[in-house]
Symmetry: C2
Subunit: 332 residues, 2 copies
């Protein structure tokens, strides 16, 4: 590989001068600068990221935590879209993306140690189990960090407006004449709490009594659980006329139960998802499309602000999505 030294020799200048020319420093003659740049280009020079990092303590590398909870991982459209958007924004700004894991040198270690070892300039926690103490350790370690869909104290975050999402969906069902609206909620997380708030709020505002048997626990991205929960709802003496699932994917499980019960959608029962994934939209599922592009971009912008220290805002941005009406909620 061609190094600064090679260019220096070819140009009859010092290594220091070459470095300055290439980095656009001020104290250098215009003509020498241009010459050095031209020669460097000709020789196909590329700076050595390791050497530069060693000297400057900046890697221009962002660690991304993206954990494969329940085998969904990268294949989970919501998260992978966010990652996609985050990544492309980061690349525009000159940062690369490396996955964080809990090994260093092939040995079990911790997320934080891995990040320190790799000297990431910052980390983005996109998809993770926020109850894992290792995650909290990382988010609050002092390394610039940003979290998505969860907020730690003193760590900037961006979250999807889950309350609003469930409000809009519930309101939509109400506007179509439904009052027996069930909600199968997801895992016990912040996201779920926020969504429940939206659900309760909508019903309350519409003066619809809340029925406990209509609010049952499910899990995110789990077909079997959704199927079982749906069966449970359908077996009530007075079953709901509309079911809201934890997410679009879970809906596919509920659908199975509904069909097996000999019911049709939306004539016999209405259904609603959450996320706005492609395959759900194709089926015309009524859902709430989260704005993954904004989530990723904003998260990245905040992280880079934190890294570079300008206008650093240690707050929580809330991004709202949009209702996708579909055709799975019947007018009553």
């Amino acid at each position: 590989m061609v190094s600064l030294k090679d260019i220096a020799e070819k140009c009859n200048v010092s290594v220091a001068t070459v470095s300055k020319a290439l980095n656009g420093k001020e104290d250098i003659g215009k003509s020498t600068r241009d010459k050095i740049r031209r020669i460097a280009e000709e020789m196909g020079y590329l700076s050595n990221a390791s050497a530069r990092a060693l000297k400057t303590n900046r890697t221009y590398n962002i660690g991304v935590l993206f954990i494969d909870q329940k085998e969904a991982g990268l294949a989970h459209e919501y998260f992978s879209k966010i990652l996609e958007s985050f990544k492309s924004h980061a690349e525009d700004k000159g940062y690369d993306i490396t996955f964080i894991n809990r090994t260093v040198g092939g040995m079990q270690s911790s997320y934080l140690k891995h990040c320190i070892y790799r000297s990431f300039d910052g980390v983005a926690i996109i998809c993770a189990d926020f109850t894992d103490p290792q995650i909290e350790e990382l988010a609050t370690s002092g390394i610039p960090a940003v979290t998505i869909d969860y907020t730690y104290p003193d760590c900037p975050s961006v979250i999807s407006d889950n309350t609003k999402g469930l409000q809009e969906l519930t309101n939509y069902a109400i506007s179509r004449g439904h009052t027996r609206i069930a909600y199968i909620y997801g895992d016990d997380t912040e996201v779920t709490k926020k969504r429940l708030m939206g659900y309760y709020d909508s019903l309350y505002s519409a003066n619809i009594p809340i029925r406990n048997e209509y609010v049952i626990a499910g899990q995110f991205h789990d077909i079997d659980v959704a199927e079982a929960a749906t069966k449970q709802l359908l077996s009530l003496k007075e079953p709901p006329t509309c079911i809201i699932f934890p997410d679009d994917y879970s809906y596919f499980g509920g659908r199975k139960a509904i069909f097996e019960a000999g019911l049709s959608i939306p004539n016999d029962i209405s259904v609603i998802g959450y996320d706005g994934i492609q395959t759900a939209k194709i089926y015309g599922l009524t859902t709430y499309a989260q704005d993954t592009t904004s989530l990723g971009t904003i998260a990245c912008r905040k992280l880079i602000d934190a890294i570079e220290g300008n206008s650093y805002s240690n707050d929580c941005s809330i991004v709202s999505g949009s209702l996708f009406p579909g055709n799975t909620v019947a007018q009553i």
Copy 2:
């Protein structure tokens, strides 16, 4: 951050000794080695990846090319599952994964230059447009590389057995009594060529004449194109009784056309996908599940072999998948 020097001072030995102790070199006393290791642990020492890379020319970092063709990108289940599997195998072996892009320092450049700049030990080309000259440049640059679903000369690869896949699917349709089997093939790539071979071979072996109007061009992962192609097939004087789609996702487009034509699956027409993605399986789509776990693992193993120089096999591994019968092919 604590460095070798800090440990050396605390232990009253030289930096060289500490390095050797921590790296398990031979010429060092057992007791000093243990002491150094203990102190290092206590002080929370982590070696500096940049410094080490600078000195050794090894980054233990693998570049992964994963390009978002037609907006599918990370959300494409087939590729993201492969990446997932590749990643986890790499991490076990002490390698990290960084995404390749065509910028360096935020400026437009090329994939190869980006990889050189980052000094990746090797690169994996998982999802890309293999006709792009920049990809070929990268694959044949001399940097250890592995490609998936495409083979360049002198570059190890692993490909899914596409010929076999289409043979099995076609044979399955034939075994269910079909003879008017259409195939909407994907983009003009190696993968498509191989699959067409399988399709033709199956029909030929079964003495079923090949009808040109049944073999039409579609695209991978494109719902609209699949919908149009399906319409075209359905409008034939003698439409097929079974349609094989480029992939599971495309099927969702075809499904639309079929329903709009007032037909039902599989009573009026049988359908077959390819890939074995979750949502397709849920719907009972007859498909061919590719073995993404093996694809990722084998690719990673080959790449690391190439990097580390042991038993380096510059060949092409073929991985077969398995038929998922589903219930979308009627018995005739």
